[in-house]
């Protein structure tokens, strides 16, 4: 029986990137449909009526609204740790990075400090391991790496140098980028910069 997998996504979204990486790591073939978030398709509105947001994975016609949990360790304690760190990323990264490129003055400075602190906390959690999961690319790596495609945009608009602050994290990111699933799922950082430039025009008065 054919296994039909469709992913509704929006190319700059780090959350969509996670789902694409996970599917590729698992060797699952999928079709994808790019959504215009300012003009949502009927399919998106029907399959995620609660949030009307991407990503949505449709497996044999049944929508799964949040990204599935791939590549978790088998040991319950390690799984809990992995879930904890992705929860940490989800609760903090998005808001901090948003301040970095989407605000000015004091608010931006605060965002910058928060963002660097977050990266440093994550860097210390990584320690000397190759991946957050240890020797194997896993759940937390997938949870964080999408943000890497936005780093050039953060550096440009946030006026910072991430590598000098968190060299180990950058080294980790480059290791992840060697994986096909990651390289294929992350957008070109230059395109992200263009995207952010456009959004800034809409939301900010220069």
């Amino acid at each position: 029986m054919a296994n039909e997998v469709i992913l509704l996504y929006f190319w700059p979204s780090m959350f969509g990137m996670r789902t694409r990486m996970a599917l590729r790591e698992k060797g699952v073939e999928f079709d994808y449909k790019e959504e215009d978030l300012w003009n949502k398709s009927t399919l998106l509105l029907e399959t995620n009526p609660v949030h009307k947001k991407i990503p949505v994975l449709i497996h044999n016609g049944k929508p799964v609204w949040s990204d599935k949990n791939p590549l978790l360790p088998s040991d319950p304690y390690q799984r809990a740790q992995a879930r904890f760190w992705v929860d940490f990323i989800d609760k903090n990264m998005y808001d901090a990075q948003r301040k970095l490129w989407g605000t000015k003055g004091e608010e931006q400075e605060t965002g910058k400090k928060e963002f660097i602190e977050l990266l440093k906390t994550l860097e210390s959690e990584l320690g000397d391991k190759t991946y957050f999961g240890g020797d194997n690319f896993g759940y937390v790596d997938i949870g964080l790496i999408g943000f890497y495609s936005w780093f050039h945009a953060y550096e440009k608009y946030g006026n910072l140098n991430i590598e000098s602050e968190c060299p180990k994290l950058i080294a980790w990111a480059k290791t992840c980028m060697q994986r096909e699933s990651v390289a294929k799922s992350l957008p070109d950082p230059e395109k992200v910069i263009e995207f952010v430039t456009e959004i800034r025009k809409k939301i900010m008065i220069e």
Binding site: V50, H59, K62, V64, W65, S66, K68, P76, Y77, R79, A80, Q81, R83, F84, D87, F88, T121
Partner: protein, 225 residues
């Protein structure tokens, strides 16, 4: 299979919905545990050591190893002690259960907090917004005894936040956020919950709880003056 020297300790707080949900899970699984009431205003070295990132309760210590974040703890409990499963087995159903749990914590909770924390027009707006979210939960309950289906599950445990915290706050705030005419299914579900022994045992006693909520609200008002 539990080892004889299994040590389970919960760093929690009697009035916290996040702490109580872990107690519900442990009790459902019949797991003995040591409860350690934490003073949030004066955090213990053990708490700070066990959850250095967030410095918050609940924290579960299993044979000395800490696990933080209530949803993470619930999944850990289900993974470690596999009898009386809290989450559904089927991956699709599990994903949906996780979705609704996050909805309660990230949407309903955040919006409902504004009902308590704001006054006047801002409060009215928060009540409206909370009701809009609850309507989605109301729909989920049609034809079901529990959010988990025929019996209590993961989402029910998480949503006790609505049944025994949001709805209890109504008395203190003086606003019927969840009127029975608008939310008959939710009211029916709360009755079903109260019929479950484990729930009755694990929720904070109503009188003391209302006093606590009142006291907290008063202190919040004082701070904003």
């Amino acid at each position: 299979m539990a080892e004889r020297s299994e040590e389970v300790k919960l760093l929690g707080m009697w009035a916290s919905p996040f702490s109580r949900r872990v107690e519900i899970a442990l009790t459902l699984k019949g797991l003995p545990y040591e409860f350690s009431e934490q003073d949030i205003a004066n955090k213990s070295p053990l708490l700070l050591q066990s959850n250095p990132v967030h410095k918050m309760i609940p924290v579960l210590l299993h044979n000395g190893k800490p696990i933080s974040e209530s949803l993470v703890i619930l999944e850990y409990i289900d993974d470690t002690w596999q009898h009386n499963q809290i989450l559904p087995q089927d991956p699709y159903d599990k994903a949906i259960a996780r979705f609704w749990a996050r909805f309660v914590d990230e949407q309903i909770y955040v919006t409902a907090m504004k009902v308590v924390g704001k006054v006047g027009e801002e409060r009215d707006a928060a009540v409206e917004a909370t009701r809009d979210l609850l309507k989605l939960m109301e729909k989920e309950l049609v034809g079901k005894d529990f959010l988990g289906g025929e019996s209590l599950g993961f989402v029910d445990i998480v949503a006790t936040l609505v049944a025994f915290w949001l709805m209890r706050t109504e008395e203190v705030v003086g606003v019927k956020v969840v009127p029975v005419e608008m939310f008959p299914e939710i009211h029916r579900w709360v009755k079903n919950l109260l019929d479950v022994d484990v729930i009755k045992k694990c929720i904070p006693p109503e009188g003391e709880h209302l006093n606590y909520i009142r006291a907290r609200m008063d202190s919040l008002k004082l701070k904003s003056v």
